[in-house]
Symmetry: C2
Subunit: 335 residues, 2 copies
């Protein structure tokens, strides 16, 4: 072989090895919420290869919580045999300054302006570290590998103790001015409705969040067996036919349908995926949702929108966090 | 000079000439509405160099209307000395199949599924022809060279006989599934509100469109001097302090503020520009708008949104149509 041919062969082999390496690398995906810290090693195709989780410690300061997170990550990576990493993707409860990710999760008082991205960059030098809102990661996961797969215009919603979401339009995640696009929970569904924790009134979240539903049902005379109840008990009673519990689910479903009609008109959506604890209620929630949606989404294009249950369950946020690493062309617009 | 150097010099000169030519070429911009047909030759920087307009003929069939449009365009181009064209950009009343632009403008019954894009391509062979909804062209114009210039996340609204808009997010025009993103007029502002022409109830447009306002004011006892009145007379009476006319403007402003709060939360907007006839009402409309917006846009990020009057006036749609030609990287995502 000539010198040039030898050089070319070597270069090509090197490129192929680099490709193999890249294909084998895993994303370290992290999901940080008020009740649990979860982490996973995710393959480039979106399969969760290894995962682990722990309760979010409530009695620690900022550094103690950070050490707990690191312990979870170190154990996960060690248990998996210390594989090469492609990058770090994180979904974290908001609010946060984005994309720098100084995080102040509502339900994690220990972290206020905690420099999560900088800390992870120090811990994993040379690797991309990308942090987004946890509900946005769920939406990205459902778009990448779940209920919104293959569609260009998707709203991914999480209906739980809050109501959040993420917005994929024209095939790309929309960040908005400050990384907060997708906040469907504060779309106004009834300007004369109940006050919202945000300071507004009649927001979707004020009506459809689990604790809001429970409070409304109790005001209306729902008397569950115990005091420490959640949307789970309310859903169970609605299933048994309790009229007030049923009315509460109906009210939440209607509010969701109205908000989705507004979003479908404003954003020309194809699919809305609905996940989170309350979505487990099934037809109790989805039937009134569809009824209100069909009453209000009347322009021809808006009638096309389909509302579907989220497909990925608990791992959606981790899969979405991995997509920030593996499919940055669609889901990561920042530096 | 060597042969190669000669070839390079020739090629560079050719490129420069092509650049000069491209820089000098004008966009032929067209705005097709129920009351007027307007056309302009627009410079690459957005300046309207020549323009002309005519009333939309109401007594012609599809082909007659097409010939009227061609006559307007031919005269405009001839009067300007037949300059070289960079392409054709069109804003047309909806609905339409997009991007193929078979148009069926609500207020132009002569055109139903009229193949506007194909016809313009036949007339101007070899040039790009790009058609979008007229309200979207207004939003694009305001983003490119008007009130939203330099901002990444902008909703451009038109409040007139209808309420329309266009949405620029993360610096790019959002089309949505069928080219209909930006339809703020059908965001629900009061689910128990008046019926809307779309078949829904409580849409922004049902409350804030000029004819809707006039009808409401007349129901409430407003008795203008003549029968054939519009939002213009209503605005004048509100300015004079007529209580019902003032209440009507207040009602429209509040509805706009609520819809904008919802859009600001869902899309994380920086600027909302408000144009169209009713926006001429000034503080009569903008004061109650701001009050409702500030009451409902309470999340920190949503408080940042600014609502401003549109800057370009009547030419916004033409400037936006030209932007479909000159700034396709941001405003044209189709083939």
């Amino acid at each position: 072989m000539s010198e040039r041919a030898t050089w070319e062969a070597t270069a090509i082999e090197g490129l192929r090895a680099a490709e193999r390496g890249a294909a084998e690398r895993l994303a370290l995906a992290i999901d940080i919420g008020g009740t649990k810290l979860a982490a996973a090693l995710v393959e480039p195709g979106g399969r969760v290869a290894h995962h682990d989780r722990t309760h979010t410690p409530v009695d620690l300061d900022a550094e103690g919580l950070w050490r707990s997170l690191l312990a979870l990550l170190d154990k996960l990576v060690a248990d998996a045999g210390d594989p090469p990493l492609a990058g770090i993707g994180v979904g974290c409860g908001g609010p946060m300054r984005w994309p720098s990710a100084e995080v102040s999760p509502l339900n994690i008082p220990a972290w206020r302006d905690f420099p999560l991205r900088d800390r992870l960059r120090e811990r994993y030098p040379g690797l991309p570290v990308r942090v987004h809102n946890d509900a946005i990661c769920v939406a990205v996961g459902e778009h990448w590998r779940g209920a919104g797969r293959g569609r260009g215009n998707v709203l991914g919603m999480v209906v739980s103790t809050g109501v959040g979401g993420g917005l994929i339009l024209d095939g790309r995640l929309v960040d908005g001015a400050s990384g907060n696009a997708g906040h469907i929970g504060h779309v106004v569904v009834d300007p004369a409705g109940p006050p919202c924790k945000c300071g507004g009134r009649g927001c979707l979240e004020a009506i459809a969040r689990g604790p809001g539903l429970v409070a409304w049902a109790q005001e209306q005379g729902w008397r569950p067996g115990r005091t420490d109840v959640t949307g789970v008990e309310l859903t169970e009673d609605a299933r048994r036919g309790h009229p007030v519990a049923s009315a509460a689910m109906d009210r939440a479903g209607r509010a969701l349908g109205i908000a989705i009609a507004s979003a479908a008109h404003l954003c020309d959506l194809e699919v809305v995926s609905v996940g989170g604890g309350l979505s487990q209620a099934g037809p109790l929630l989805f039937d009134p949702l569809e009824e209100a949606l069909r009453a209000h989404a009347r322009m021809d294009f808006a009638r096309q929108v389909r509302v579907v249950p989220a497909a990925l369950g608990q791992t959606a946020g981790l899969v979405g966090a991995a997509a920030l690493v593996f499919a940055a062309d669609r889901y990561w617009n920042a530096d």
